[in-house]
Amino acid sequence: MPSRQFFNPKMTSPTTRNAIEPAALRPEDNPARDYKIKLEAFEGPLDLLLHLIKRHEIDIYDIPMARVTAEYLAYIQTMRELDIDLAGEFLVMAATLIHIKSRMLLPVDPETKGENGEILDDPRADLVRQLLEHQRYKAAAQLLWSKHEVEQGVFTRPPLDQSENAEISATVFDLLETFKKIVERRRERIEIEIAREEMTQAQKMAEIRTLLAENRSVNATKLFENARSKREMVCIFLAILELLKETVIIFRQERTFGDILIERAVPTRGDRPEPTEATEVTE
């Protein structure tokens, strides 16, 4: 950016500023509602600034900081009053504007003046560069939009092969997304399995209690033999262990290597089990 495009910031001297600010604080007599409609259209702080600059036909290379800052702050204030969610970027820009404005009030260091008296390190330089760049990309977006519109009217041959087993043209992000989905699916699957197993173990405990309420003893081997799956066997095993722990049942073996029988535990005096749900069933 050639520095000669920046001018001496005299026009923002305190006297000039005072003349402008009161007006700027109430930029228009429009009711607050008008702001809302406009404000929502601003993509960000740069957009809002560009709007202010255009509306007042300000020379972008010589922005009157006091006036623009005041207007910018007035907009922000209105946004707040209207409870519009204010992106953090708007506040950052407000701080930047105030900072630039205050720097411009400082006397200019003669060292930083060029041959023709122009300011070499104009505090606005960065902002102007940003605004210009933003403007260019807005134009580029406009251009892309119109190209896209034209392309919407261009049609090509429909796919000849519309088979069911359509293949996907994949990118690395598809790989990542797919992987993420698989991991989530797996987590859900495991949770379901755990839930199912817990339910089954509880069911098996209830079944054994019912059997013992009806019979004096139950043949453990038979219980396992009747299991329909490995998982069910595991559940029965866990159920028996749990009932043993709760001393609801005892094991009895009539002879070595004989079948193991499950019987109700008879609570002995002084060694009475906790009054659990299980004891209620056995009694």
């Binding site: 049609f155 090509t156 041959r157 429909p158 519309q162 087993n165 293949e167 996907i168 043209s169 994949a170 990118t171 690395v172 992000f173 598809d174 790989l175 990542l176 997304e177 797919t178 992987f179 993420k180 698989i182 991991v183 699916r185 797996r186 699957r189």
Partner: protein, 178 residues
């Protein structure tokens, strides 16, 4: 509507149509033209395709009109079909490839465990397409083969090396700020 105006319109309509387009359909789309107009325009258009020695032809088929390649060029079409690059994958293959890419080196049982479904045919596809390669064996029961992605995988997905694969954090970075 004049013949010269009608011809290009009919040509585009037939071109974009998935099924042979009937004269009746064309007449409905173009209130400005009669069925007779359309018939004549189609005859002209068909003749033009033939006369300019195009590789394509306008032909009447199954009661409708369509643009198709001339049979005499089938040999070249076969060549084309054989040459098709293949970064295109079925969903099963894509899923399996994703698991291998992120968990390599990995065995088939481990892939099964993660995907929850058998992946053998997908693995075959991926091996055929040279997207994955065996990378030795795992020192455990059965010594199953370990698979990893190939150089071809990097080429097809435009990756410099495996560290260029986007990570779950990269994805979160994207979502986080929104």
């Amino acid at each position: 509507m004049k013949l010269e105006e009608l011809k290009p319109i009919l040509e585009t309509l037939i071109y974009v149509s998935e099924e042979p387009l009937t004269v009746k359909q064309m007449a409905e789309l173009l209130e400005e033209a009669t069925r007779a107009d359309i018939e004549i325009a189609l005859q002209h258009l068909q003749l033009e395709y033939t006369e300019r020695g195009s590789g394509l032809e306008l032909r009447e088929i199954a009661g409708g009109w369509q643009i198709a390649t001339r049979p005499e060029y089938n040999e070249y079409l076969r060549r084309y079909a054989r040459s098709r690059p293949s970064a295109r994958l079925s969903l099963a293959a894509l899923e399996t490839l994703a698991v291998i890419a992120y968990k390599q080196p990995i065995t088939i049982p481990e892939i099964l465990e993660i995907r929850g479904v058998s992946s053998s045919s997908a693995i075959k596809t991926l091996l055929d397409r040279k997207l994955i390669v065996p990378q030795g064996r795992k020192e455990c029961v059965g010594r199953p083969i370990l698979y990893g992605t190939s150089k071809e995988f990097l080429v097809q997905f435009g990756l410099k090396d495996l560290t260029a694969l986007p990570s779950l954090e990269d994805l979160e970075d994207l979502v986080a700020a929104t």
